[in-house]
């Protein structure tokens, strides 16, 4: 997995490339812990995300919970496979997916 960050003022875009599974989720989690300070507009770009596991979903949950307090969060360019998972687990109803 690879993580690309782009901060534009208070807006942060995080591009996650590859597989977000139990092995790589802690890395993203750690990244988010520090990166979200002062961010009001968080965007996950999943254009190149091939797979998301439950551990990955949990990271999104943590992020969503935090962003509920300090701004908003959305997912963009979600692939079909990932969307299926989000849909199945009910995450699709909970999160803003553009």
């Amino acid at each position: 997995m690879e993580i690309q960050k782009e901060l534009n003022g208070n807006a942060l875009t995080i591009k996650v490339i590859g597989r977000l599974d139990a092995a790589s989720a802690p890395e993203l989690s750690k990244e988010l812990t520090s990166a979200l300070d002062g961010v009001t507009d968080l965007t996950f770009d999943f254009a190149e995300l091939k797979y998301i596991a439950s551990a990955g979903l949990r990271v999104l949950l943590v992020a969503q919970k935090r962003m509920n307090k300090q701004g908003s969060m959305k997912l963009v360019h979600v692939s079909e496979a990932v969307m299926e998972v989000l849909d199945m687990t009910g995450f699709a109803n909970l999160m803003t997916i553009a």
Partner: protein, 724 residues
């Protein structure tokens, strides 16, 4: 070739030493060589220059000497000639006196060789051809008798030369000849005469007479060889005398032996091959102390100035011109130096010739001497040089020996602590970590030993640590195993053997403790609850969350289902799981309750994979329609929707976790739901559950191949056989 450090060190130090020695030796040898060569060439140059200088000096001095010799000899000869000239002048004055004053003298009758013999130093008179022809007049007779008085002068004068064949004489204008000869070789015999000498001799025709008349002064005449005089040539001097009126009345003359002069000329010659000569005004040779073609004597009236050899002709010109000089000439094809000086009174020139080679030989001798000295110096220098070289070589060899010994010692001393070190290290390597290296050399080796000691301590600590960590890991692993065992233990394995329903579940855990679980239990006699769930994440926390989830679901189902329905059970369980879930753990759950009598199946799907439903009547599998309820755990107070279907006899529901559909092969490709449904449609779903689950598991394994199992794989099948 492999050398140990001691040897390498030795070679290195030796090489460095030898190199510097060689460089130094080379440099000094070079320096010495340069000095030697310089000295040698300097010596040679000096020698040559000195030799040349000496040669020049010697040549110059010889020439100078020759010039001085020529001058002194010329002066000597001139002086001798001066004496003769004085005698002739005295004779001339006396005759002039007699001729001018005939009356003052008594007639004296001289010997007539025609009638009387002439003895040594006696004065005689011949009358000459005129008187023989014309006869003797009394006047002439008287005049001749008066002239006879001269006998008193002639005879004492002749006695001065009586040692040599010589004569003093007078020729008169009448053609008479008065002579006083001396012939010391036969002094007691009368002088022999030929008749011609007595009767026909006319002095007026003789060169000495003509010369004196034409010069009208004393004059020397050239030498001529006289038959009686042997090898010695003679020369003469003549002068006119006068009568009362100042007219020339005759000529007086003398033939002088030139032995003294000749001797002096001969003595003048320098070296065995040198010779001397006298040249007259006409460039003719008068004396020469040696026979010579180019310088032949004057009998042939040979003018040397016409000699084809230019150097000789030029020298002759200068001599005739009365100059002093030293010139190189070639005589008879040989090189000479000619030194000449004039005899001014008579216009002759004296010259002495020395072969050039004699002079050059002298100069060459001195040059050789000089060069020999230089050679001696050079060879002394060479010997000194050799000695110094030998000494230097000895010193270098001695130094090399010292160097060898010193560097051998040095390298041995340097290497000794390394040996101590390696022995110590070997001991440590054999396991004695308490070994301490004690090396106090104060250099890098001590540092190395210190490092080794530190390393030993580190190693000891590390090994202690490792033991501890290993023990810890062992403990954790054991704990995990325990957790895994608990997880496994929590999964029900006693599947009820009933006629109305068949149940079978398997769970293949991944290497790490996963979060899958399944459950089934009877809520009451006719209601069977089944659950398949998957906790987010892995490891011990997932396992623990799984245990909690299973317990909570079980508890709420047992207590709430019959009163509040399945949806409320799930909602209540969710609320319970949300409490204190800061870690945002969650679990996807499919839970269903089967009414064993009616076949009605009520279910809630909270974010889980849709199960596969097999309708026996259609012999066909489909994904069960599921509402997309949110997962349990993260969000409390949310509603859950329950759904229901009715099972017919033989219908089957197949539950699973994402460990099935997301199983990866080596190319990271998922098994996918499509493949699952296709496989289930192709396999025999009426087979006993054991076989069915094995077949599905087999297809998944076929897909996975050699890839490592990434997640727990849980499968749960339920077949409804109806109430009989």
């Amino acid at each position: 070739m492999k050398w140990n450090i001691q040897k390498r060190l030795l070679v290195l130090v030796l090489a460095a030493g030898i190199l510097s020695f060689l460089a130094m030796s080379g440099l000094s040898f070079y320096g010495m060589n340069v000095t030697r060569n310089e000295m040698k060439s300097l010596g040679e140059e000096l020698g040559k220059a000195g030799a040349n200088f000496t040669e020049t000096l010697v040549t110059y001095q010889i020439k100078q000497t020759l010039g001085e010799l020529a001058e002194s000899r010329a002066d000597f000869i001139e002086q001798k000639l001066g004496f003769i000239r004085s005698d002739i002048e005295i004779l001339s004055r006396t005759m002039t006196k007699i001729a001018s004053n005939p009356n003052d003298y008594k007639p004296i009758k001289l010997i007539n060789p025609q009638v009387e013999p002439v003895y040594n130093i006696q004065t005689y008179m011949t009358y000459g051809p005129d008187i023989k022809r014309d006869g003797l007049t009394p006047e002439v007779e008287r005049e001749l008798a008066i002239i006879g008085n001269i006998r008193l002068v002639l005879e004492p004068l002749e006695r001065l030369f009586s040692e040599y064949t010589s004569s003093v004489y007078i020729g008169t204008k009448h053609g008479c000849f008065i002579c006083c000869p001396s012939f010391p070789d036969k002094p007691n015999e009368p002088k022999p005469f030929t008749e011609s000498e007595i009767l026909d001799y006319d002095p007026r025709t003789r060169p000495w007479y003509k010369l004196a008349v034409s010069a009208n002064a004393p004059a020397f005449f050239d030498l001529y060889t006289h038959a009686n005089l042997g090898k010695y040539q003679r020369f003469g001097c003549s002068a006119p005398y006068y009568d009362r009126n100042g007219n020339i009345a005759g000529v007086v003359g003398m033939d002088v032996p030139n032995i003294d002069i000749y001797k002096s000329i001969d003595d003048t010659a320098v070296g065995a091959n040198g010779f001397s000569l006298v040249m007259n005004k006409n460039g003719e040779i008068i004396f020469a102390s040696r026979e010579s073609e180019d310088l032949r004597s004057n009998e042939n009236k040979y003018d040397v100035r016409t000699n084809p050899q230019k150097s000789l002709a030029d020298a002759a010109k200068k001599m005739v011109d009365g100059e002093n000089g030293i010139l190189p000439v070639i005589v008879d094809g040989e090189e000479y130096f000619i030194a000449f000086a004039p005899m001014k009174s008579i216009g002759w020139s004296f010259a002495t010739l020395t072969p050039r080679k004699d002079i050059v030989a002298a100069a060459e001798d001195s040059r050789k001497y000089f060069l020999a000295q230089i050679d001696g110096f050079t060879s002394r220098l060479q010997n000194e040089y050799l000695f110094v070289t030998f000494l230097a070589a000895l010193i270098v060899m001695a130094l090399l020996y010292l160097l060898f010994t010193a560097s051998n010692n040095l390298s041995r001393r340097l290497v000794r602590p390394i040996h101590v070190l390696s022995n110590g290290v070997r001991e440590i390597a054999q396991g004695n970590l308490d070994k301490k290296l004690d090396i106090r050399t104060g250099d890098e080796i001590e540092h190395l030993a210190t490092c080794f000691n530190a390393m030993t301590v580190e190693l000891k600590n590390y090994m202690a640590n490792l033991t501890k960590v290993t023990a810890e890991k062992e403990r954790i692993a054991t704990e995990l195993d325990v957790a895994s065992e608990i997880q496994r233990g929590m999964l029900p394995k006693d599947f009820p053997a009933r006629e109305d329903v068949e149940l079978l579940a398997t769970m293949t855990p991944a290497k790490e403790v996963g979060g899958d679980f399944y459950d089934f239990y009877f809520i009451d006699e006719t209601h069977l609850a089944i659950t398949v769930a998957d906790v987010s994440g892995k490891g011990i926390s997932a396992a623990l969350f799984m245990v909690i989830s299973k317990t909570v679901l079980n508890n709420f189902a047992m207590s709430m289902h019959n009163r509040d329905g399945l949806a409320e059970v799930v909602a209540a369980a969710n609320d319970k799981l949300c409490a204190n879930n800061d870690a945002m753990m969650f679990v996807t759950v499919f839970i269903g309750v089967l009414d064993l009598q009616s076949g009605e199946f009520v279910y809630v799907n909270a974010g889980h994979n849709p199960p596969v439903i097999y309708r026996a009547e259609e012999n066909r599998c489909d994904f069960l329609d599921v509402k997309k309820n949110f997962v349990l755990g993260p969000m409390d107070g949310i509603p859950f929707v329950e759904q229901r279907i009715t099972f017919q006899r033989g219908d089957l529901i197949f539950l699973y976790t994402d460990g099935v559909t997301e199983a990866l092969n080596v190319r990271d490709e998922e098994y996918l739901p499509e493949r699952l449904i296709n496989f289930m449609n192709s396999t025999d779903c009426r087979a006993d559950l054991q076989t069915l689950l094995k077949n599905v598991r087999g297809d998944v394994s076929k897909h996975v191949g050699d890839a490592e199992q990434s997640d727990d794989i849980t499968m749960f099948a339920l077949r409804f056989n109806g109430n009989k």
